[in-house]
Structure formats: C-alpha cells, structure tokens
C-alpha cells in the first residue's frame, strides 16, 4: 500500500515485515529514525517475537548481532559513519564467520572534521571487509532492498549492508509502497542457519585458523561473492514477480543507448543525474547514466558490457581515496581495462555538499569538449583553498585547517553582506 512516509520509517516498516527476531542498535545521525521506528513497532506489538536491545556502543550493536545470528536468530542493525568505524573489528568478524546479518548504513561522511551530512566514505571504508554492499537510489528501493537483503544474506550465509544516503533519503518524505505481510512471507522464508550454537549438536565457532587454511577460507568468501553476481539478479527477479516492480539487481541503466558520455554513480544522486540527462538529450547530447546497485560484489562484466561502446565515462562519486583519487572510479577503471574508454573521476557531494543540476550540466559540457581533467572536485572553492595554502607557506604555525577555512568563509559572508 502506498504511503507518504519518511524514508527511515519506510525502511523500519519493511524490516519489520521481514520478521527479524533480534534488533539491536546504537543511535547515530542519520540512522536514528530507523531504529526508533523499529523500536516503536516492537513496543506497540506490531512487530512480534522480536527482541529490541538498546546497546551501549556500535561495537556492542554488531557484537550483539553476531551472538544472536550465531544462535540462529534473524538479526538486524543499523549505523553510519563514525559508528561503522567504531564497529569495524566486528564488521570483519561477522563476515569472516559467515553470519547473515543485515545492516543499514545511513551514508554519512567520516570525520575529522566532524560532519553529519551525506557522502559514501563510510560504506567505502568497509568495502573489502567481505560484506555484500547494495546501494539504494530511492526510498522505495531502500525499503525493497532490505527485504531482498535478508533473502540474499541467508542464502549465501554472508552479511549484507544496505546503503542509503543519509538525510537525503533517510529524512525525506516520499511516496513509498509498503508491501503486505503476506507477500513478504511468500518471498522470504524463515531463517535456516548454516551454523548454529545448539546444545543438541555442539561445535566450536571462531577458533584460530593458521597459515595452512586461512587462504582457503578467504578464497571461499571471494567465491561466494562471485556467485552473488548471479544470485543478486535472481533475487531481484523473484522480487519483481512477487511485488511487481523493478528493485535492486546489479546495475540500473538509463538512456545508455547511443550514449557517448556515460555517468556512473551510486545512490540518490542518480535521480538528479537522470533529470540532467533528459534535459541534455532534448538538446541532442548523447548522454546516459549507469547507477551501481551492487557495489560488492562489483559487477565488472556487466559494467564493461554496458560501457564499452561509449566515448567517455564519468564516475561521479561521493568518496575520495586520499592520495589516490576515486574509489569507485578505480573499480570502474579495472572493469574497463583494455577497452580504451577513458574514465574520468568527479568527486562530488563530500560532507553533504549539494550536487546541483547546474553544476552537473556545466561539468558535462566541459567533458563533451574533452576538457575534463582526470580528477575533478565538483564545485571546489579554489580561492578558499589557495588562501589556506598561502597561510601554510607563510607560517609554520598556520593553525588547524578546518577552522581556518570556516573563519575564512565567515569573513567572506560578512563582506558579502
């Protein structure tokens, strides 16, 4: 049934429909409304047979999830940014143990400097930890992906991160179809664990593995994610047959036919890019956008197939590998090896800087003239940067960079007024 609902609330309702048995979470912006929503559903009795636990840190949250999942309970948690890092040890532990935990990441930048707004740095920091990572483009997809995530996680016995843009999706009211309990039950069977702590059949889980077997364990995790490349589309297809809409899958292609320039991106910004694509197509520009839904496993072949005939690829990403360049771009470049298609990196939206249609249009026009750099920081305030660099050249005691820049910008505001 369609509802005009906050993204977080839609996610909470869909998670509840999956009949989780244990929900544990520690609050952090921008995920707070999701766990509050889940808590309300448990307290009101709408979500039955579910233990809702308030924990004392994110590290505890994922650890509780590990214990719960290992005991055979369908388990859910959510975090973002600093919280994801605080539980980093447990993130690797959960995937290493092969526990099918589903966790929402309300994508948010990581400090310092402290920043509560959206970018993808947090999910990217854990991209190699062995979790499956799915990115939602809309709140509808975010809600749907959680339902798919439980099915995927339990089939593979591997944890899944569902990534949705903090504030932009979590705190936006949108028109979302919340499915019925019957349909979710038809799609998602009860959890059948591959391993479970059970006195009737005791075994030890989590023992040390030495050089003689560690590689094999890691290889099998990689192999599992390779298999996931086939499972994810299958699960999305089944989703469509039960719920009647396209959601999830590996990639979403939009107007790629005949496109000379293709923007590759993840998450909600794809929607903004689509509007730009439509406007530019009206003017005769051959532009398209590919949004990646499954970031891990990374769909190399599918991306290569979709992009190999275009002239240039622009990876528009909300992440930065400091000292290197683009995180997503790097993955895309590897997929395009040998095709001769040039890949540009455009880092945008860091720390929640809005990505506007005028800025995108300008950047694409530069790209069409073959004048786009390999690495671009969209809407970078050159003058501010130059002033800080000058301060550092002039004095060793130049002060903390962030505060300098803030003072600089505040001073500019004064002058403007």
């Amino acid at each position: 049934m369609f509802e005009q609902i906050e993204g977080s609330n839609a996610v909470a309702k869909c998670v509840a429909l999956c009949r989780p048995e244990v929900i544990c979470a520690y609050p952090i912006s921008p995920q707070t409304h999701i766990v509050e929503g889940c808590g309300k559903l448990v307290k009101s009795g709408k979500l039955k047979n579910c233990e809702f636990i308030n924990v004392e840190s994110e590290f505890a949250a994922l650890s509780v999830a590990i214990g719960s999942s290992a005991t055979g309970a369908r388990t859910y948690t959510a975090t973002a940014s600093q919280g994801l890092l605080f539980m980093a040890e447990a993130v690797y532990n959960a995937s290493g143990l092969g526990l099918p935990i589903v966790m929402t990441i309300g994508n948010r930048a990581i400090g310092a400097p402290i920043n509560i707004w959206n970018d993808h740095t947090d999910s990217m920091s854990m991209r190699d930890a062995g979790w499956l990572q799915l990115f939602a483009e809309t709140n509808q997809e975010a809600a749907d992906l959680h339902i798919q995530a439980f099915k995927l996680a339990e089939f593979l016995s591997m944890p899944v991160m569902v990534c949705m843009d903090g504030f932009i999706l979590t705190h936006a009211y949108d028109r979302v179809d919340i499915p019925s309990q019957e349909k979710v039950d038809a799609y998602l069977p009860p959890f059948k664990p591959r391993q479970v702590l059970d006195p009737a059949n005791p075994y030890s889980i989590g023992a040390m593995v030495g050089p003689e077997a560690f590689t094999e364990v890691r290889y099998l995790a990689h192999e599992k994610q390779q298999r996931a490349l086939k499972i994810i589309p299958k699960i999305a297809k089944e989703f469509k047959s039960v719920f009647g809409r396209n959601s999830g899958g590996l990639i979403h292609n939009y107007k790629l036919d005949g496109a000379k320039t293709i923007v590759v991106t993840l998450g909600s910004v794809a929607g903004t890019v689509k509007d730009v694509v439509d406007r530019m197509r009206k003017k005769g520009k051959k532009i398209g956008v590919l949004s990646i839904c499954s970031f891990r496993p990374f769909p190399k072949l599918e991306i290569r197939k979709a992009l190999k005939n275009c002239k240039r690829i622009i990876v528009l990403e909300k992440s930065l590998a400091v000292g290197f360049g683009g995180v997503v771009a790097n993955n895309v470049m590897m997929s395009m090896q040998g095709t001769g298609v040039h890949v540009h990196t455009v880092v945008a939206g860091l720390g929640g800087r809005p990505i506007t249609q005028p800025s995108l249009k300008k950047m694409l026009q530069v790209a069409e003239k073959d004048e786009l750099d390999d690495l671009t920081f969209l809407d970078l305030e050159r003058k501010v940067v130059e002033r800080e660099l000058k301060r550092e050249r002039v004095s060793q005691k130049s002060g903390p960079i962030a505060e300098n820049i803030l003072r600089d910008l505040a001073g500019l505001k004064e002058i403007k007024r």
Binding site: F2, P30, A172, A270, G271, K274, D275, P354
Partner: protein, 196 residues
C-alpha cells in the same frame, strides 16, 4: 513540478510543514518529496525545509534553488538571511506576520512579485487563538492553499488529521481554515489544479 521552500526557526515546525504539504499532495494522488535542510538543529536556529510536488515521479534530490513559492514562518529571519534567493519571478510569498510589507521592511524585495502572489497572514496569532500554542506551520499551509490554489483545503485538512489526532488536530484544522479564509479574501486564487 512545483517547488516550495519554507523558512523558519527550530521549534516552529518547519520540517513538519513540508511533510504535511507532501502528505496533502499525496492525498490528491500526486507525487511529492519533502525534506529538511539538515543541520545541528536547536530551538531558535534558522531552519529550511523543502517540498516538491509533481504529477510524476520526482527523481532529483538537490536542494530547491529556484522555488515557486516561499513560506516564511518567522519574519525575524529577514535580518539573518536572504530568504527570497532564487524565487521565480512570478513566485508566491507567504509570510507569518501581522504587519504589512512596508512595516516588515521588505517592500523592495517583493517589488517584482505579482500583486496577488504575496501575502502576510498572522499565523502565530491565529494558532494561539485556535490551539492555544504559537505553532504556525499547519496554519500557514491553509493560507498557502488559498494563495496558490495548489492544494485543495480538504487535502490539507486530511493531511493534518493524519499527523495530529483529537483536539490538537481539530485546533490545527480550524486555525488553517481561518488562515485560508483570510488569504482568500486578500488574494485571488487561480484554478491551479490542472497546472503541474
């Protein structure tokens, strides 16, 4: 697509205002997207929220840079920021105030706006009268419906009911209706139902 930007201060229900607007549009079978400009909100700090209304799926997620309408819940904001920035030349302006434009000192800012598209309504006073609380958000929504013709009052009423029950809901609705009537008298509503 119709884009509205709402300005106010933390604690005045600015975020809820955008949500209610989106729910009203939803009730009419349209697509709507409402979101706040996020910040470490404290009571009293300037807050902005946005609402987009469209007849088909809304895909863009950027902030509203060129609003079709601006609702100002707190006129003291005129001294702090340029609330009119980007407003379309024939855009709508609804201000919560019992003063007129001259007294507010914004006569120049709204010079270019068509006569019937700018209006002041004493929403806080109306709210206190009908609800006992100085919460102007739903009240202004009623006024906005009258001024823009974008939403039927019935939809606004249903939206308020979906969020606030009992006496609070009733108070909000009667206050919104009062604002609707006042604004209707001061402006002429064009039948906007057909327009995107």
């Amino acid at each position: 697509m119709f884009q509205t930007r709402i300005h106010g201060r933390g604690g005045q229900g600015v975020v809820t205002a955008a949500e209610l607007m989106s729910v009203a549009a939803f009730i009419e079978g349209r697509h709507a997207q409402a979101f706040p400009s996020f910040g470490s909100e404290r009571t009293g700090a300037p807050v902005v929220s946005y609402c987009r209304i469209n007849n088909k799926e809304i895909r863009t997620r950027e902030p509203i840079l060129e609003p079709d309408a601006i609702i100002i819940q707190d006129p003291t904001l005129f001294n702090s920021l340029d609330v009119f920035q980007g407003l379309k030349f024939d855009g709508y302006v609804l201000i919560n105030s019992n003063k007129n434009f001259d007294e507010l000192g914004i006569k120049d800012a709204i010079k270019k706006i068509p006569n019937k598209h700018a209006c002041c309504v004493p929403a806080t006073e109306i709210a206190i009268k009908h609800m006992g609380r100085p919460m102007p958000n739903a009240v202004l929504l009623g006024g906005f419906a009258a001024m823009s013709g974008l939403l039927a009052f019935k939809s606004v009423e249903k939206a308020i009911q979906s969020k606030f029950s009992g006496k609070i809901g009733d108070g909000n609705i009667s206050a919104a209706l009062a604002a609707f009537d006042i604004v209707k008298k001061t402006t002429v509503t064009k039948e906007k139902k057909g327009k995107k």
